[in-house]
Amino acid sequence: MHRFLVKLSSSSNQFRSSKNHRLILPLLPSSKPFTSSSSVSSSPPRHSNRSGYPYLVELFQKISPLSSNSRTLGVNGRSISSEAGRESIEYDVLIVGAGPAGLSAAIRLKQLSQEKNIDLSVCVVEKGAEVGGHIISGNVFEPVALDELLPHWRQEHTPIEIPASSDKFWFLTKDRAISLPSPFDNKGNYVISLSQLVRWLGGKAEELGTEIYPGFSASEVLYDASDKVVGIATKDMGISKDGSKKENFQPGVDIKGRVTLFAEGCRGSLSERIIKKYKLREEVNAQHQTYALGIKEVWEIDESKHNPGEVVHTLGWPLDPKTYGGSFLYHMNDRQVALGLVVALNYHNPFLNPYEEFQKLKPHPAIKRILEGGTVLQYGARTLNEGGFQSIPYPVFPGGAIIGCSAGFLNVPKIKGTHTAMKSGMLAAEAAFGVLHEGINMNTYWDNLKDSWVWKELYAARNYRPAFEYGLLPGLAVSAMEHYVLKGKVPFTLKHGKADHEATNLARKCTPIEYPKPDGVLSFDVPTSLYRSNTNHDHDQPSHLRLRDPKIPEKVNFPEYAAPESRYCPARVYEYVEDEEGKPKLQINAQNCLHCKACDIKDPKQNIEWTVPEGGGGPAYSLM
């Protein structure tokens, strides 16, 4: 549903100097919101279960003097939308998502604002309860973008402490690990927890005056009468499972930006709608995006087995030759190692269970000897882009742009996307600044992307992944050729195969896979792992996983594909239970959701739409 808003008559002058806009909120003595219908305190109390609740970020205390001067608030806070009771808040730039791309954009905007002495109000909304709470990644970090953004980071105390010390590459068979020459070169890179780095970036952004609001999920894009994006609406909170308002109902607010940047990460829910609406892939003849699902654990291991900086990648076991993917094992600090399995989502066998494949990996002798005697600290999962260069959509739309993995800048052979996401955020910030103060067009973002090292890097890397369409060995052969000889300097660009959701074969054509039972020491069942992700949602809310056609799971997914969602979901959200007639019925345990987006990607009929739940819900990653 779009909100058609009357275009604000103000010219851009309204937002120029800091002297003109103070906090124009009518600070009423009561806590009633200043709209036509009061919502919070007047309804009678009702007995209901304690609900979840958005919490402020740890870093919220660092409120710089800049923030109160530079924010623009909707004049009189008047609600402009057609729906009664919604408040509207305006900023110069609105960023959706406090990840590497979003925060880099915020930091860059504030840097430019300081440099040119022009005030700019920047707001970042984040659906996680804390900045960094929904961030999960390998991660061997290439600091090239950070060196550009915050060159003094090396003199500060940051979460970037462990330099990569070795690059191992193993081909695993059931029992052996065969060392191969490593296609990776991580000299100069660091083994980090991206969740920790993002928290640090959030602190930097706030120091510079960015307003960051975690615990608020952007549920809708707001458009004006000319179909230009003017901002987002945060999700109403306090709605019961049956759709009625609970006693603590809180309507969402409209947050407007003169420029809106979407930085929701891979398969961002609003970004996907924007890409479809403005046909951004068609615009540049981009291919569809392809994805992989990464499942990760952070272990605390024996001191004697810990080798900080060691970087290991594997191919082969437990995945079969037709399924692209591999594992990673990175030694961080504090006796922690990051271990994960990445499985491309264009796998054919609907019986494949990426989570169980990950459990199969761990007892492998080469992995087991590292993990033995250790404990799992955290667990999580997230999809990532594998489409690379061929799948980059045109990232500019009327009213803003898409940055980071929502557009898709991950370098697949390097399996790194943080540095390119950050750079894309910085470039978009520079373009947005120009839009607001120099009258240039947001297309400058696209032009600057194409002129940057991001483009060069992704172009050179473009043929690695698609080569695996022809099989594991051809893929490896092409990879070797590309890595040692060609480096992307060929006149052709290989195309991706089918879209991930179309690649699944019918169940009757495939062999079911038997997975071993968890041993509780190295391998675990899903509920045990899920508990370690600290994930939670308020139970009494409508499911955020929407079925476009509620009959398809029982009509198609279960009989024809053997219920793949009950296998690929790393959080056991989807379960088939027997109804009163003994027939299978889909049960959606939305409360378990890890926000990985695998279901949105892999559902054969694209029937599952991932939408945001109430803000503050989801995993609480801190070491991932």
Binding site: S31, S48, V253
Partner: protein
Amino acid sequence: MKILVAVKRVVDYAVKIRVKPDKTGVDTQNVKMSMNPFCEIALEEALRIKEAGFAKEVVAVSIGPSQCVDTLRTGLAMGADRGIHVETNTSFLPLTIAKILKSLAEVENPGLIFLGKQAIDDDCNQTGQMVAALLGWPQATFASKVVLDKDKHIATVDREVDGGLETLCVDLPAVITTDLRLNQPRYASLPNIMKAKSKPIKKMTVQDLKVDVKSDIEILEVTEPPKRKSGVMVSSVDELIEKLRNEAHVV
């Protein structure tokens, strides 16, 4: 009337915790912290009383490290008028907290002190009771319903006790600790979070309040509970009795 609400910053209820390898406590590094759920309920009740016109001001107080300011900001965003942060890096036990709150009450002169019945990190369930005793005020703990009579200066409180519900009448000023079913705390809306940034938080120290923080309790060791052993199937009643007598020593 002024209402003083004590709020505690604790490990978030949905987070998996573990004991530090040196057994001195729970590992709270890099762990998500939030306002204690019972403290949220206490604050919510105080806000409702204020909105009903029975109180003029709700003051939130938190005792702990510098990050407690975040917890107080959450409280301010919910609707508290101002905050007091008693800054300390020592983790105090309930008696010391009660002494600090007593000192604060003597400064602020509230008509009501609301606390959560217990904190979810230590489950002590002592602070509210101790504050009341130190101040010589009446107490109504485990409140599931609070009704104020402004003219008579009394509060009628339904308490959740083991046998069911007990209704007490307490003279004000009084200490009330809140239980789960009292209310459902409100969400802090975005505009309120923004407003809260400009609400004042006063910083104080235990020295300012002239409180003796020496504790006569020392935590020796924190360990994880023993792992649950799997059940054993017995083949006959005799075997059951034999096991109950000789292995479990309960018969």
